[in-house]
């Protein structure tokens, strides 16, 4: 028997939640925008009315205001978005325990086992839509299909508060005439490359030989071919199942551009302390570090390198990050934002291959020092002890919302 998968997407999530919280905003052009003072002054989400005026997610607030002078900008309330996301999860869990979130506002649900009990897939979708309207004051678009890729596509094609079904019988008629870019996982670059080979629609992609696609695009080529032919067998994660952590990172946009390595060091050290804390909480250690540096022309560059030791240490992570930065960044422009990510993670109890030349005594001392600092912070607060250089101006924003975003697709 075929699986029954739905993909549900909360329409204009952040903006709709703001309108639900404040009924006076309903029917008006509303956008949720980041703080201009903290240089996050971009549109994060917009209402349907703002969309009609041409306001786009990701554009800067002044540009959006030019298009729509009456646009009401609301600061984000992430704690509310988390609350609504959790309540949405409660609605889905009435029908299944196989719920896989993608961000705060989208989920896949495998409702195969609930069809008989609830009177059919369409009925479940309608009940979910009604529950969202009555309980949360929000609308969802739902895609209904027999695999995750077509379910996701269905929710993209569905209108506000609608259900769009893609079945085995109708997928050729409904999906194949669409451009290849509509398939989940095919980005602009892959889309352009496919177009350059004359493959413009999903149908054309499906008609290609999978061997040829593999030759041109590698594993991704075969994956795309399977998606186009409705042969996606990826599972929907069970509720509560934890996705293995592959990386732990932290990044910020500075309050002003960083103009020298000393300023970059302070930011990297501060970010690394957060990364180190989270590594400890997850009982993981890093063997490599990745940095992402965005300059004031909004161009981002990423660099990766190994840490000298398998580490959780903020100092060692920060030093590796700075080393990467100094070796690779050309300083054509000043730096706007920095992200430090611990990668190639392993369990903190994993055996380690030692090297003859390593200064392990120093590493061990550093570890003891870090443990002590962490303990002090745990007992007396985050600001009980910190590096001297962070006492001066760091160009880091005072407060940053923490928003954990579950986004990975389970296979």
């Amino acid at each position: 028997m075929d699986r029954v998968i739905i993909h549900s997407d909360m329409n204009s999530c952040y903006a709709s939640i703001e309108c639900s919280l404040n009924p006076e905003l309903r029917g008006k052009a509303v956008a949720v925008g980041g703080s201009t003072e903290d240089r996050h002054g971009i549109i994060l989400a917009k209402s349907e009315e703002a969309k009609k005026c041409g306001v786009k997610t990701g554009e800067v607030i002044w540009q959006a205001k030019q298009k729509c002078p009456d646009l009401i900008i609301i600061p984000p309330h992430f704690e509310q978005y988390m609350k609504y996301s959790s309540l949405a999860h409660d609605i889905y869990s009435r029908y299944t325990d196989k719920i896989e979130p993608m961000g705060l506002d989208e989920v896949w649900c495998d409702i195969s086992g609930s069809i008989k009990a609830f009177g059919g897939a369409k009925k479940i979708c309608d009940e979910i839509r009604e529950a969202f309207k009555n309980e949360l004051g929000l609308t969802v678009s739902i895609g209904l299909s027999y695999n995750k890729i077509f379910a996701k596509l269905g929710s993209d094609l569905a209108g506000r508060d609608e259900v769009f079904e893609i079945s085995r019988e109708n997928y050729k008629e409904k999906v194949h005439p669409l451009p290849v870019r509509v398939l989940f996982g095919i980005g602009p670059k892959t889309g352009d490359k496919l177009n350059s080979y004359g493959i413009n629609t999903v149908g054309q992609l499906a008609a290609c030989s999978s061997e040829w696609l593999r030759l041109i695009f590698g594993v991704l080529g075969e994956d795309m071919w399977q998606k186009a032919n409705g042969l996606d067998f990826s599972r929907v994660m069970s509720d509560g199942q934890k996705i293995p952590i592959k990386s732990i990172g932290h990044g910020i946009t500075c309050t002003a551009d960083l103009v020298d390595s000393n300023e970059v060091w302070k930011v990297m050290l501060s970010l690394s302390q957060n990364v180190s804390k989270r590594l400890r909480e997850a009982h993981l250690e890093a063997t490599a570090v990745q940095i992402a540096v965005k300059d004031n022309q909004l161009v981002t560059r990423q660099f990766q390198g190994s840490t000298p030791y398998v580490t959780q240490s903020a100092g060692e992570i920060a030093k590796t990050a700075l080393d990467l930065f100094q070796k690779n960044y050309l300083w054509n422009y000043d730096v706007r934002s920095v992200t430090v990510t611990a990668i190639n993670l392993q369990s903190e109890n994993s055996p380690v291959q030692l090297e003859l030349t390593g200064d392990y005594k120093r590493h061990e001392k550093q570890k003891i020092l870090d443990d002590t600092v962490m303990e002090l912070r745990q007992r007396f607060g985050e600001k009980a002890i910190f590096n001297c250089c962070l006492m001066t101006e760091t160009k880091m924003p005072e407060h940053k919302e923490k928003v954990p975003l579950p986004f990975m697709r389970y296979r």
């Binding site: 009924p23 949360l136 004051g137």
Partner: protein, 80 residues
């Protein structure tokens, strides 16, 4: 006339199962209203004043009205 969210003092009774039942409401000016009956309890959007909460449909002096509970705070939709 504008709808506004009025937070109120509520006397509640917990039963053996831990279920909550509102008994009376004290309005912001101090007037007290006894709840005759709770006819429905469900999560619902407070459409008039915004937000989502556990909605208690209650009968007070023969009149049906809504009482909302959100994270330990109780409110009603009022027109003023």
């Amino acid at each position: 006339m504008k709808n506004r969210k009025v937070y109120v003092k509520v006397l509640v009774q917990f039963d053996e199962e831990g279920n909550v039942l509102p008994m009376n409401i004290t309005w912001e000016d101090g007037r007290k209203y006894e709840i005759d009956k709770v006819t429905d309890i469900r999560r619902a959007c407070a459409f008039k004043v915004g937000g989502t909460a556990i909605r208690y449909t209650v009968r007070i002096n023969g009149k049906i009205t809504y009482l909302f509970e959100d994270e330990g705070r109780w409110f009603v939709e009022s027109r003023s």
